[in-house]
Amino acid sequence: MPTTRFTADHERVRARLRAYVDERIRPQAEEWDRAGDFPDEAMRELGEAGFLGLRYPQRYGGYGGDYYHTVVQAEEMARSGSGSFSMAVSVQTDMATPPIAEFGTEAQKEEFLAPAIRGEKIACLGITEPGAGSDVAGIRTHAQGVGGDWVVNGSKIFITNGARAAFCTLVAKTDRDAKHQGVTLFLLPMDASGVQVSRRLEKVGMWASDTAELAFTDVRLPRDAILGEEGKGFYHIMWELQGERLIAAVESAAGAAYGIERIVEIAQQRRVGGRCLADHDWVRYRVAETAARVEATRQLVYLTADRFDRGEYPVREISMAKLAGMSVAWEVADLGVEVAGEWGIWYGLPLQRSWRDARLGRIGGGTDEVMREVVGKMMNL
């Protein structure tokens, strides 16, 4: 690691997590992918080992670390070879739970955050709907106040962890007529009556990660199921998305750097036309150029993380980091396939899996186009 951002403690955590990933995750990545699932115990074990709450207070079972502990977590998970499991963990630690830590009541933290940190309750985040992806204010899922309770109706799609989650951090409309001001967050137990996993979606990549379509039919939630403030859900979730996008950028930049290491290995091992791939100009130059972009992206990501760590909210840089991180991670995955040629498309090597997995980055958590839109807006365009 090239900087002083990481203290001796960060490096200790990194070493422990790297050993854990080497021993407990990477060897199973292929098997989980083929099975189309990872076992829930994998999440619980990661929680028991203390890696699901690095940034959360010790009071709830967390490690009590800072943002760079989360960065370490994302960077090491990026080396796991399982895009699916890394994504499930990200949802657990950096998407579905930060709003609880930030906006939740003490009771909500005890009921949802603490068991999530222990890996006992797997979490999902319910934003996207069949008719509304990037357009969060356009969601239709509705929570109606009825006799002191809330009654939720609607549906969500592309919900990572959705088929196995114990609870959902849910975005719903509490006022159909209001746009942004009509959105509220809820904590919804997935075993509540009326919650149905209507479909488990088959994806082209990220096979070990479950992606659900959820249907809510007259799901009754108590008054205190609201997370944060009523009518402030849009702003809460926009806040969440910044953290989600930044950590995704961290992970993808680290994954890209790891991908470059693997391409170098392949280039040294394999021969074409009587020469090592590494002895072909086109391979050396493409790898060198891509590696330069990876490094530049990593530094952009670190500078953005510095500001986030200081409590700033740099939407422009976060959106740039997400756009650049996903794009370079994708380029590395594509270069891996190209360099390896036919072996790149062969299921016996993980290159094609990285290629399929990495493609989601340019879509999930806000597409490239949405990121460009946000950056443009932040530049007063």
């Binding site: 996207t128 008719g131 509304a132 992806g133 990037s134 357009d135 356009g138 799609i157 592309f158 979606l201 088959e202 994806k203 082209v204 990549g205 394999r270 021969r271 074409v272 036309g273 009587g274 086109w282 396939v337 190209e338 390896a340 040629g341 036919e342 072996w343 790149g344 498309i345 062969w346 299921y347 016996g348 094609q352 290629w355 399929r356 493609r359 989601l360 340019r362 879509i363 999930g364 597409t367 490239d368 186009e369 460009r372």
Partner: protein, 377 residues
């Protein structure tokens, strides 16, 4: 032998009969392949019956001489490639290309007896043959072949392994490249004498590829094709590059159509996604790329059909076609948003197929090498 037959009016490529052929193929593809494309791939339903049907209709032999049962019409042959590519089920186009490539290798390099024995069934789509050239060394260059054929007592004993052999496991025979004491030759080997195993790969699951193990296979001495493998493969390679160019243009066109149809239907921020300026311009660029690439393919076909030097044009056409198909398919996934990543939508299949088609056989490099050589570099 002159292949393809030189045409009288090479600058007037598409005759009414070609338009009729295109219409007929389009109906067949739209009725039989497009509606079930996703299932056919998922079920790994190798289209053996369809290939037999195409053979029976004379489509597999379009480019071949009349005395081989063909139509001597390389233009019609290109129409076939493009329209099958347009099915968006690239493995089907690929399978017909593999069959025709094997048939062409026999036509150009086979002995009379070999041609008479194999070609009629092959062009009729009844007996499927495929070329097995590449080896696990990751090297598509026939000069680097290590598989060997040791001769003795009127026989050859083969050893070695062929990697990423098209139609592995479903072919009835393979033309395998192996080194004898003197040179590299092709051997026509019945599938029964070899062990073939299908490998799992990224795309085009309806058309298997796999490994063919040669070790221990003992074949008759007259299984060797008389002409040298590098010469045959170079000639087959030119035809193949052109056929793939048209098939990839077809695939790109399908990816474009499907993406636009989705993008016009899908609403975001109160309007169809495809109507956002950024997408309108991206698709305008993509459509321009597609149109110019198709024109380049037609230009290469014209030279090829006229018997003029066509190597550079063909290589350029194939290079561009691969890139356009992959780019179009990738843009198609992106336009679909989250749905583009879902197996139930066709966008991801075009994308996997296009990626696979652009890395097999050495990827872009043989074409870049050819163009560079033609430039005197």
């Amino acid at each position: 032998m002159t292949f393809p037959a030189v045409r009288d009016r090479p600058y007037h490529l598409f005759e009414p009969e070609h338009d009729e052929l295109r219409d007929a193929l389009r109906r067949l593809v739209d009725d039989r392949l497009v509606p079930r494309a996703g299932d056919l791939e998922r079920e790994r339903a190798f289209p053996r019956e369809l290939l037999a049907e195409l053979g029976e209709l004379g489509y597999l032999g379009l480019a071949f001489p009349h005395d081989a049962g063909g139509a001597d019409d390389v233009v019609a042959d290109a129409v076939l490639s493009e329209e099958l590519g347009r099915s968006g089920l690239y493995g089907v186009a690929g399978a017909t290309i593999e069959l025709r490539a094997a048939a062409l290798a026999l036509l150009l390099g086979g002995a009379d007896a070999q041609r008479q024995r194999i070609l009629p069934g092959l062009l009729a789509g009844r007996a499927l043959w495929a070329l097995g050239v590449g080896e696990p060394s990751l090297d598509p260059d026939p000069h680097e072949i290590r598989a060997s054929a040791r001769s003795g007592e009127g026989r050859f004993e083969l050893s070695g392994e062929k990697a990423f052999v098209p139609l592995a496991g479903v072919a009835d025979g393979y033309l395998v490249a192996a080194r004898t004491a003197e040179r590299v030759a092709l051997f026509a080997v019945e599938a029964g004498s070899l062990e073939a195993a299908e490998e799992e790969v990224l795309g085009s699951w309806e058309c298997p590829v796999g490994t063919v193990h040669l070790d221990g296979a003992v074949i008759d001495a007259n299984a060797r094709l008389p002409a040298g493998a590098p010469d045959i493969l170079a000639a087959v390679g030119r035809w193949r590059a052109l056929a793939e160019g048209f098939a990839l243009v077809g695939l790109a066109a399908r990816a474009l159509d499907v993406a636009l149809a989705y993008g016009l239907e899908r609403q975001a921020f109160d309007r169809p996604v495809a109507r956002f300026q950024v997408w309108r311009h991206r698709w305008a660029e993509a459509a321009t790329d597609l149109e110019s690439t198709r024109a380049l393919c037609i230009h290469a076909l014209r030279l090829y059909a006229a018997g003029e030097p066509a190597a550079r044009a063909i290589a350029a056409a194939r290079l561009r076609a691969g890139r356009v198909a992959y780019r179009m398919a990738d843009e198609g996934v992106q336009m679909h948003g989250g749905y583009g990543y879902m197996m139930e939508f066709d966008a991801q299949r075009f994308w996997r197929d296009a990626r696979q088609a652009t890395v097999v056989g050495g990827g872009d490099h043989p074409y870049l090498e050819t163009i560079a050589r033609e430039l005197g570099l």
